[in-house]
């Protein structure tokens, strides 16, 4: 009876090890496919950037024009410490609570500085702004468009459509990179599990 229970446990252990190996191989495969896709997206982006440089002139599209004044990144990443897992936050949308609370504070400061009808009216205005700010998806798209235009303005007011296309290609590349980061974390986790199984077997 005990030997059959040991046999079942051993079979379950082998099945689990094999599952870990499959997970590892799947992660490696996904990682390589994603890197290949990333290469294509980047190639597209470089080609569009070269076209933009050709139409606008090299003096209008180069690193000397980068904005070196203090500013925050519009596109950031949120990290969940569990695996870790990464999530891309593009164009600092109004749904982002950190930015939203900064904006609300800024608006609150502005309102307090204004000489208007009185504290009650100011509070009502702020409440209305807060209700409007987080509700509409159209608002989020407008925010993204506004941030995109602000980033493009680094190279002048009127830019080539190719530069806008470059922006979109690199946005796509960013999304892939975040996916690659997550796949990398899964790959390393699966690798650790396989190593652990090998050590236990030995």
């Amino acid at each position: 009876m005990q030997s059959s229970e040991n046999g079942v446990e051993s079979r379950n252990g082998v099945a689990e090890s094999e599952q870990h190996i499959l997970n590892f191989l799947d992660s490696v495969d996904s990682y390589l496919i994603l890197m290949e896709t990333l290469s294509s997206a980047l190639r597209q982006g470089w080609l569009e950037l070269a076209s933009a440089r050709h139409s606008m002139g090299a003096s209008r599209v180069n690193s000397a024009l980068f904005d070196l004044k203090s500013h925050h990144a519009s596109t950031t990443v949120q990290v969940n410490d569990d695996l870790p897992q990464f999530k891309l936050c593009k164009w600092a949308s109004s749904d982002d609570p950190e930015k939203y609370s900064e904006e609300a504070k800024f608006e609150e400061d502005e309102l307090f500085q204004n000489k208007s009808d009185g504290p009650r009216h100011q509070h009502q205005e702020l409440q209305e702004k807060r209700r409007d700010g987080g509700a509409s998806p159209v608002g989020t798209d407008n925010q993204a468009q506004k941030e995109r235009s602000k980033t493009l303005s680094m190279f002048g007011t009127l830019v080539s459509p190719k530069l806008r296309a470059t922006q979109l290609s690199f946005e796509t590349a960013l999304e892939m990179l975040v996916e690659i980061s997550n796949t990398r974390a899964s790959l390393l986790h699966a690798y650790d599990q396989v190593q652990k199984d090998r050590t236990n077997t030995e």
Binding site: D67, V77, R148, L187, L188
Partner: protein, 130 residues
């Protein structure tokens, strides 16, 4: 909603870059550029005048900053500081080697795949059979 498990999340973190000018330009257009009050950027443009020491310093700085979650590094640049990249083993920030215009991605040099390739080697297979 009340029964949803709590997930630990940090505040927004940055993506740092060590790459050539065109790659940095593209990603800055995508909105990842950050300049702090001391005018320190989250990127290093690598060109013919950039020294290996500068690249090493940038890599060490980006991998020790708490506000950076991902470091993108062109693979040909990573090859210049290969020892440093391969010896890095923390989960965050994640180091991603990316291709550049003149140097396509080579899986053989990727630090993550180098770490795990032992499992595919003949020595590993032979030791499993003993």
């Amino acid at each position: 909603m009340a029964n949803k498990p709590q997930i630990r999340t940090s505040s927004s973190a940055l993506i740092a870059m060590i790459a050539d000018e065109d790659t940095i330009t593209g990603f800055l257009l995508a909105g990842v550029g950050n300049v702090d009050l001391r005018r320190k950027t989250n990127y290093l443009i690598v060109d013919s005048k950039t020294t290996v020491k500068q690249i090493e310093e940038a890599f060490k700085e980006f991998t020790t900053r708490e506000d950076i979650a991902i470091v993108l590094i062109s693979q040909y640049v990573a090859n210049m500081i290969r020892f440093l990249v391969d010896s890095y083993n923390k989960p965050i920030p994640a180091i991603l080697e990316i291709p550049s215009k003149d140097h396509p991605y080579d899986p053989a040099h990727d630090s993550v795949l180098s770490r795990v390739k032992y499992l595919f080697s003949t020595e590993s297979v032979a030791s499993g059979r003993r």
